[in-house]
Amino acid sequence: MRPNWLFAASILALSAAGAFAQPPAAATPQQRPPQRVGGFVPGQQRPPEDPAQVERGKSIYGISCRACHGADLRGGDIGGPNLLRSQLSLSDQKGEKIVPVIQGSMQAGGMPAIPMSPEDAHAVAAYVRSVLGTIGGQGRPPSAMEPPSILVGNAADGKAFFQAKCTSCHSIDGDLKGIATRISDPRVLQNTWVSGMFRSGRGPAPQTPRNTVTATVTTATGQKFEGKLIRIDDFTVTIADADGTQRTIRRNGDIPKVEVKDPLAAHRELYPVYTDKNMHDVTAYLVTVK
């Protein structure tokens, strides 16, 4: 057990140290699988539709419905509503809601009667239900566009900002050398430099010497302890020595004195200071640092 654990820990440490340099390719937003909201129980799945019926319905939809309701059912150019958020189509079980509408029950509301056989109308309903079954968590449409490039800034302005605000800690010939090659996706690059941490999604960033928080604890008698900050709250502070030995010290108000050094604090202090143009400009500059 123990050797395995140590082995796992060293792998973690290695990958953490290398994380800033080589982010895993899976981190690019485009490649991430669609997120399901936590706690969603897919128990009430829509029953599977007959594939032949769906295929037929899709063809008929393309002929008779697409112009108004859109190729992706999210509404079309001639003003037909989005069928993916239509309460009527969402509630449809076996055509009982959709088919009458196709046949003209909502003409007063502007939906004309569409000439097609009842069988074809049922096929269209089956196709609509099959697309509804692909809606993502929290109502995300199945047919989102490819996100546009986030590069909207001015590289020259970004360079000036970088030289004014960032060069006391960072250098494009040093720690950031080739940053745009190492992090090729501009969105990931922006998220990384703004926070100072490599991260993907909401998970914690891996620790590196550059982002390790340390603390110095000075007791009432003047004794000093220094090390990596493991945890802190109002009641205790825990630090680790260089060899990993942890020490937990009780806190009572201002005693002992605790000084926390967070290398990333400088990044956080800039969040309220940046304008969005500053951020866009610096990113436009950093993507040129190949």
Binding site: F40, G137, Y271
Partner: protein, 561 residues
Amino acid sequence: MIKNIAYAVLAAGCAFAQIRPVPPEELLKPLGANWPTYNGDYSGRRYSSLKAINTQTVKNLSLAWSIKMTPGMGQAGGPGRGGGGRGGFGGSSVPLIVGGEGPGDINAGGGTIKASILAVDGILYFTMPDNAWAVDARDGRELWHYYWKTRGGTHIGNRGMAIWKDRLYMETPDNYLVCLEAKTGKEIWHKTIADLDQGYFSTPAPIVVGDKVLVGTGNDIDSPGFLLCFHAETGELLWKHYTVPMQKGDPGLDTWASLDAARHGGAQTWIPGAYDPETKLYIIGTGNPTPAYMTGKRGEGDNLFTCSLVAINVDTGKMAWYFQTSPHDTHDYDSAQTPVLVDGVINGKPRKLVLTAARNGYFFTLDRITGERLVTTKYGQYTNWAKGFNKFGGPEHDPVKDPTVGGAIVSPTSDGTVNWQPPAYSPDTGLLYVPEGNGFSIFYLTDVDPRGSMGLGGKEEVPLGTAGNYLSAIDYKTGKVVWRHKWYGNGGSGGLLTTAGGLLFAGDGMGNFVAHDARTGKPVWHTRIGNISSAPSTFLIDGQQYITVATGDTLWAFVLN
């Protein structure tokens, strides 16, 4: 097995002899020995008049009991479970009552207690999604367990039950209102709240007012929000109030680009409101507009009555007034926070007030009779999504801080300075206590389709970390933050409690349950039981004051020793 059941009946007989119907008038009284509704009383203050546990005695507060709950049918009726869900405590098996319209094989996974814990005459009633329990408050013994076989829906949380006479009411994720017999947990009836196929899922605690049960729901896929009113006895639907315009001529329609946009506009009723018996107004916060992160086809208007406090007459179901806290929201800053009713003094004049510290970083004091705005302040230290105020005194969103293609740095995150967690107000200090999270995110617009996205889609939010999380105390007269107590974690989860003992209870997000001095915020007692998942509450039995709170699947009770 048979023997166990016999024991259960015997044990149950003893406990159930204490059951007394709770007349609805009892909910009108200030909060004391019992905790008979979501916020304890109708005011939303979460202020208890109990003071045996106070700033002097709290140092002696210690564990009375704890119980770990097992949701679902898994261990139902097994020997050894009865003594508090852990085995080895003696006692006998617990009656399991099963209801529901689902197939019974859908496993919703591990449950978390996010419910308010009702306390009535020595019995506690609380929930997880699909599960309700009665527990003996003296020793934490489970008395009965009701399990609802779900048809599906988002199982994100359940805020607890309501009580009327000898009946309890619970909402389910697949949108049923279930009425249970308080004595036995047996189902009396269940009624449909909303259509699961339309993406609704129900999390709120129902609120009993007289013989009415007020029921909210939720939805993330562009369906209209509404509040329902059922008859407590029969389950008959008395009225349904939509929170967005649904017909031509409905108020607020001119703030939407079209009737179709309004009818898909959201404004869900996620969290129970406060009730003013004098005006018969039920005041409740509404959710975000949809699509949430862009204008889409909503139009440039305010999109009423999303992100608003709305006051609804409980007899008629008609809206008396509204105040919009986030006009034309684009960050999912819903206004589903618990409003707090306070009788106070503004500019030397006695006023009947309602307070809300909204998710968007702004605090408001309103007149609760008319909805007139009296105070607006920004309490979120770095809140930056708005520029100035509109003519009604609501913050005006700054379009450059909407989600953009290049990214916008915004505080707070979409989780807000505060989320659903109920605040607390002490009339002794005149302070409203609220969690204040000053996180930043980059908001990217990822779907630039001119039709707009749907639900919460079409954006990517990258959290950057926090510039400071606090337990904050706001003076309702000025809207100023009087003190901030720094939290090292995401404190305030579950919600807050304050008492006449001069105490304010909160989780600190670092695994501690903490009692603060309500005047200064200074911690005066703590215990490390894990992060808090439900708002703490307090009650009295046998002359002894209890504090109860949940961490995940475990309920804890503390007394003075």
